[in-house]
Symmetry: C2
Subunit: 482 residues, 2 copies
Amino acid sequence: MFRDFEPIGDRPVYIQLKDYMKLIIIKGALQPHQKLPSTRELGVQMKLSRNTVISAYAELEEDGFIYVVRGKGNYVAAVSGGTATQACQIDWLERINDHARLAEQLDLMKHGIRAQKGTISFTSIAPDETLFDIGNVKRAFMDRMSVEGDVLLNYGYAKGYKPLMDFLLRYMQHKGVDLKGKDILITNGFTEGLDIVLSALGKRSGRVLCENPTHHTAIKNFKLHGFQITGIPMEDDGISLTELERALSEQPYDCAYFVPSYHNPTGIVMSPKKRQELMSLMNQYGIPVIEDGFNEELRYTGSHVSPLMAGVGNGNSVIYLGSFSKVLFPGMRVGWVLADAELIDYLESIKRARTIHTSTLDQSVLYQYLHNGNLEKYLKKARTEYKRKYELTMQCCKEHIPYAQLSGHGGLHLFVTFEIGFDTRKLLELCSELGVIFTPGDIFFTDNRGCNTMRLGFSRVTDEDIIRGIKIIGDTARQLMK
Amino acid sequence: MFRDFEPIGDRPVYIQLKDYMKLIIIKGALQPHQKLPSTRELGVQMKLSRNTVISAYAELEEDGFIYVVRGKGNYVAAVSGGTATQACQIDWLERINDHARLAEQLDLMKHGIRAQKGTISFTSIAPDETLFDIGNVKRAFMDRMSVEGDVLLNYGYAKGYKPLMDFLLRYMQHKGVDLKGKDILITNGFTEGLDIVLSALGKRSGRVLCENPTHHTAIKNFKLHGFQITGIPMEDDGISLTELERALSEQPYDCAYFVPSYHNPTGIVMSPKKRQELMSLMNQYGIPVIEDGFNEELRYTGSHVSPLMAGVGNGNSVIYLGSFSKVLFPGMRVGWVLADAELIDYLESIKRARTIHTSTLDQSVLYQYLHNGNLEKYLKKARTEYKRKYELTMQCCKEHIPYAQLSGHGGLHLFVTFEIGFDTRKLLELCSELGVIFTPGDIFFTDNRGCNTMRLGFSRVTDEDIIRGIKIIGDTARQLMK
């Protein structure tokens, strides 16, 4: 007894001893009301200081696992409730519903090729963490905690942490958005924003419009919410307005979803003229638009392009979903929904019903970080680095897969289209055996097309790996085409 | 022009100037391709240092709002996309669905009495933030950031941050839970855990069982997920097993929801014997049980009582929803679901589809805080303080409302039952005019009963306010009864 206790790591030893004792009491190795060794005896037995044992016993008493009889010693409390007299095994596969099954089916993390150690992976479009200015995050945290640490750690409001909300409202205003009649809701990121909006949207037609290809998570969420998806093809400068108008004239839609800047997966930035014509068309048909702010900040060249929402003046038909996750710190899970104030009122209630509120700690650290002027400095560094990688990736593609069509004006990925009939999943299989993986493009299409496409995410790939990886892809593709 | 710029607060001035310029460019006060004043001229005009203007211009160029012509100067870029030619006003009240309407109806924050300044409020059961050991949270944060700051700020895994998952698994094991065949999912708190579980549960009967009264948020979520609720009355030591057995024998149920420790709102702790009998009954009928860990840590006296999940051995019918929110830092939004591994697999996919993952920053700070042994010290302090407040509240109630039935074995609130026919909402109305508010108990009942009950949360009320507030409640109640 007691001899198999071995403290490890840097957790306080008396706490490890407390945990160990709890376990043997629960397992019944010590009986209720059994007298425990004195603190001196146990210390000797276990080769620990008497103080450690005293502290552990104090904790066990505090937690109700032992009790003290003055003058006599420490005794094991009767903690076990006893086991239920009937066992019960639930077949959970039988109990779950279609929604859960569909969520699992559409879960890419469960059904893709996993990167082995040493694999060159072009699958990620997450930011490059070597660019993170951790010192500034630490500073922001310490600043906030000193001012209002107790407030931040207690319950907050479903709508969000006010200083961040005010900051983001001004931020959107500086992008040209008219805030009249609008309000903001802080979410756990773009995905939660979309989920909440789709949860609130009535199904008149049960149909949504979007670009084709588009963000896989959006397609997943439309399906999980039971919407039918009509995907509109894209041209070099964005969605095909001709095809869009044809679709609009044929059937009604409950809403549309667009990613106008550094579109995922094509990387295309919709031209200002097209944005204006797009919104005129959507307004003409009275269809709400969900705008995905995605990579707006990663503009490398050219003038600032205003969001779609900026182009509707005081109109209230656009729901803007914003997030800094592709440029800043996705681990923090903070995003926002900017929309008609009446709609936001209902979205707030849904948010409260589901997750109470977004972490106040994260919101406040993000706020302080932004307030201190760190975003501008960080963006400058990030844009330079990502632009460099973008140009390197472009160059390698032009060299090794010159016959393929490349699209992308920047951002964190390139989209590659091979000739019709080329099978990029087959290419992926062969490349993965050679230690290179990428995202097959068909997952971004709404209609099972795109089997000849792939997305190359370069944000987290080193220069050597970009060069080496794309060469392997090129060589393998050439083999495949023979 | 430019003269209405006024820097305020501590945000870097050059950034405030950048924002100001962005706004006037977007509003069209400056025309595309218009030449801007030189940095010297603008500095003089606006009474700012030339360096400030130089920095602001650099940012504006970086963001694509101005462009530089070498040797000539700075020019306004053509940023506006132009406004859509057709305006569109959506009637959002018409567009939202019943789910959104129901969420808003059931949103207590929207439909209750708000505390004015100086009001003595017994509505909250949030922790008392004066007990928060902020220094230890700061330390935990700095520790973690130094070790793996870049990892924490980038995307994590839907299931959770591994060190925290491992910690919580051992934590549950030390409460007597058999981990065989189980797995854990980290959530944004109890509420998200319940929402995800109900999203996955197939509706065979469409009915759930629970204690009556019970946690309002749980009732809200059952309704939002379209479940019919059967509430079982409670006795002094927990749910009435007789009534439960009657309900079980009459109709089928998809699952049951119980809060066995420091039940919300009654504060009752289910006895070990009753827990055993309860689980035997549930297993006999093969009904899954959602266990709400709620206030388990706030045990004031007596032996440790094991969770229901500990009483089913290696059975897999219990889904344990845990959170430290009532004892530690609710602002951080971290909770967990411990259940059958196959079920967790599906819950993970739903979590990923909705919010990607819980903030890694929060999970890691919580982990480090717990690992450093802070929970034990904090709990000791918290239990002492809450026990003191509990006893004071009890004493005041016995003095001022001696005819009312009081229940609660600890935790952060007391439940008060007046005679049948007494209207606590009327009492609330009168008390609120005298500067005292509390939570009317009917919101916790599944069947519109409990109009003669109220919940008194004392965790965040000072001693003087407890004494004064309950006296006012007592005096007012006596008036009402005449």
